[in-house]
Subunit: 207 residues, 2 copies
């Protein structure tokens, strides 16, 4: 059985919890407070706790706001060794909404891998609106979760959970492709903000 | 009546010709030779000629291979003044298939705008596989054509043709967003090459 820890039970974190539970994983939810984690975890039968607790997941999904990522990486640095670390962030410059705050030649996920070289970093879920993870569909198509990463086993483990949950897991290539996934996530957010698309829709992937 | 010139009757150029004709435009097709342009134009009732001929389109779609763009920009530099110039390119590094050959902080479309400041440059069609422009659908959804550009009138003119053709025209924002559109086009090509998606599918946009 795959064990998944989701740190950050916000909108996208809670959606990933739902996917992981449907995907048959043993799920732990950690929040800034245990109460916040409980709200996301308890209805789905997941365990919960506060940031700082021991990680039970082999796959750890970091779904805290982007400006809180560094602190978590510092706090759990040793614990992340060998674990699969999933970056779901869209590092948008919210002051301008006209670009990302990571260097153009890189990505948040690649930066995370540099900070925690002992972890096996994946980029995933950042191209999905939360509602489409909960529902599992975009229009009549299964929601596609694009996963980029350099470690094939790590990627297969996450794709397995996603597929068991009934979503379409797509291997999006190496961790370098996180740059393109972050561009997609950003563009999709701008289209949502400008009401060109709804938050229950977005970019779907059609076979 | 909108007049559209398509330079480069290859796979994507021919698909844009079909969209423009369905979109009610007066269409001219220019090829390296008149014979090549004729094959794409004649069955659809478009006029045709060879590169070097006078442009009849107010909207000019540049659909030549990326390494031939510079020559065309030089050749038609004066003629492009005031015209809408549509960049459909995906400037992929085909030697590595691991990135783009334009600077990470820019895009082919922004570079084109710098080269021809008197033209009104748009990025469009680069996120569409040719088959989905011909068919007009991805699965059961109308094919979405994402259009980025700084000139609102230029964008509306192209979106009008696209929508009249029965496709979904989406305003993707300023020309800076060409960077994200090129990331999407590139990622989609890598997924196609790796057979994660078919050439009749790809990324769809769901309302």
């Amino acid at each position: 059985m795959v064990a998944v820890t989701v740190i950050g039970p916000g909108s996208i974190g809670s959606a990933v919890v739902a996917v992981a539970v449907r995907g048959g994983a043993d799920v732990q939810v950690l929040g800034r407070t245990e109460a916040k984690a409980r709200a996301a975890a308890e209805p789905l039968g997941a365990s919960f706790g506060a940031v700082g607790d021991t990680l039970t997941g082999d796959i750890v999904v970091l779904a805290v706001p982007f400006d809180a990522v560094e602190e978590i990486l510092g706090q759990y640095h040793a614990a992340f060794r060998g674990r699969v670390l999933v970056d779901v962030s869209n590092p948008v410059d919210f002051a301008t909404f006209d670009g990302l705050i990571v260097p153009a030649y890189s990505s948040a996920a690649q930066a995370m891998q540099s900070t925690v070289p002992e972890a096996r970093v994946l980029k995933a879920f950042n191209t999905n609106f939360a509602a489409t993870l909960h529902s599992g569909v975009i229009a009549d198509q299964p929601t596609a979760v694009l996963v980029a990463g350099d470690d094939a086993d790590a990627k297969e483990a996450l794709l397995g959970v996603v597929r068991t949950a009934g979503l379409r897991g797509v291997d999006a290539g190496s961790l370098k492709r996180a740059r393109e996934l972050e561009a997609i996530g950003f563009l999709q957010l701008t289209l949502g903000m400008r009401e060109e698309i709804s938050w229950t829709g977005g970019l779907g992937l059609v076979a």
